[in-house]
Symmetry: C2
Subunit: 214 residues, 2 copies
């Protein structure tokens, strides 16, 4: 029975399912039961079945799940089977690292262009992706609005750049600035990668274990 509203907790687990299924598929494993997958992932079989049931019925009694099929289904749920367009805004060290190393295509994205204020970069390409002047953003998106923008600009211009992207009609912002972006009433999705928050939780945990040992 498909669910109307899927909880955030379930959504956050989907990429991990996809990762495991992808790995099993690569290994050539044909089928897996929820309990075997659960053992492997360190979660309960119940949770896997409950999670998947939000989106449909993908298994077979007495058999389990066909890995190729389930991988495709989860991929479909996540949207990796439909190509979305993407631009990278801010070609500093981080933007460059993503352009060079991140496999956007595997996630269902085509990188169309990058933007920066640095005129030394403008006109060059990275992995075949042209870098345009940030000033040209509106002119560029006027033609065709990309689905998602990767925001890798300095903190100081994060919100204003986000505002411009939203004005252009962008649908999603993958935000690497350590800034809490806001968009009153706008129909845009933010996904934040807060490095600082991540490292702080690690600090919390090692502080605890270090103290515990003494």
């Amino acid at each position: 029975m498909k669910k109307e509203n899927v909880s955030e907790a379930v959504i956050r687990r989907l990429p991990r399912y996809y990762r495991y299924l992808d790995e099993l598929y690569d290994k050539g494993v044909v089928r897996i039961s929820s309990s075997a997958l659960g053992d492997r992932m360190g979660i309960t079989a119940s949770q896997i079945r409950q999670d998947l049931s939000c989106f449909g019925e993908f298994g077979q009694q007495g058999y389990g799940y066909n890995i190729q099929e389930l991988r495709r289904e989860v991929g479909h749920i996540l949207g990796v089977d439909k190509t979305h367009s993407l631009i990278v805004v801010g070609v500093g060290n981080l933007g460059r690292a993503l352009l060079k190393n991140f496999h956007f295509a595997n996630m269902g994205f085509t990188v169309e262009a990058a933007f920066d204020v640095d005129l030394r970069l403008v006109g060059t390409t990275i992995k075949g992706i042209p870098i345009y002047e940030l000033r040209q953003l509106e002119a560029y998106t006027h033609r065709k609005v990309p689905d998602v923008a990767v925001l890798t600009v300095p903190q100081s211009v994060a919100q204003e750049t986000a505002d411009r992207l939203i004005a252009c009609g962008i649908r999603g912002i993958w935000n690497f600035t350590n800034v809490e972006l806001t968009a009153e009433g706008e129909d845009v999705q933010f996904e934040n990668v807060h490095f600082a928050d991540s490292l702080l939780t690690l600090n919390y945990r090692i502080t605890r274990t270090l103290a515990q040992d003494t």
Copy 2:
């Protein structure tokens, strides 16, 4: 009443509290009530009070919280007031981006060294941080074990590099490889930054909103 075991949900919210308190402190705001902070952060006052009560009593009836004091307390809980040592393992684009731009010091870390296999990098420095040959890792850590390692190596060598770090006695690994690291029975904390998972959840959400609009 201090809690023995604080839930993951609470811990994940702490850095965000710290971020807001830091901003308010910078602005020179002296005090704030849980309801005012809740409004600002988009959460309930109850949750803030409940969360903080896991660690002690930091407020005052009829007054609220002194921002400078609460900021310091939350910082202390997160461990930013005690300096931990850190090394960066893998000086590719991402490692370099972190070395150049990330404010480790604000998070309570001192970057001591970086390691890479590329001999062209070995002997150079980034922001004053020396880059050593990865082969020297054991020799380097023999003297004094750093608290945390940032793992920014290629996926293919992620687990083996993690194993070496763990063998050296490292306490925490900030993992940027898209690999699920394991350490059977070892006393090491992992904090994963899974770019792919993050972008996939964004894809999920924009796929939903796009479909919804049609």
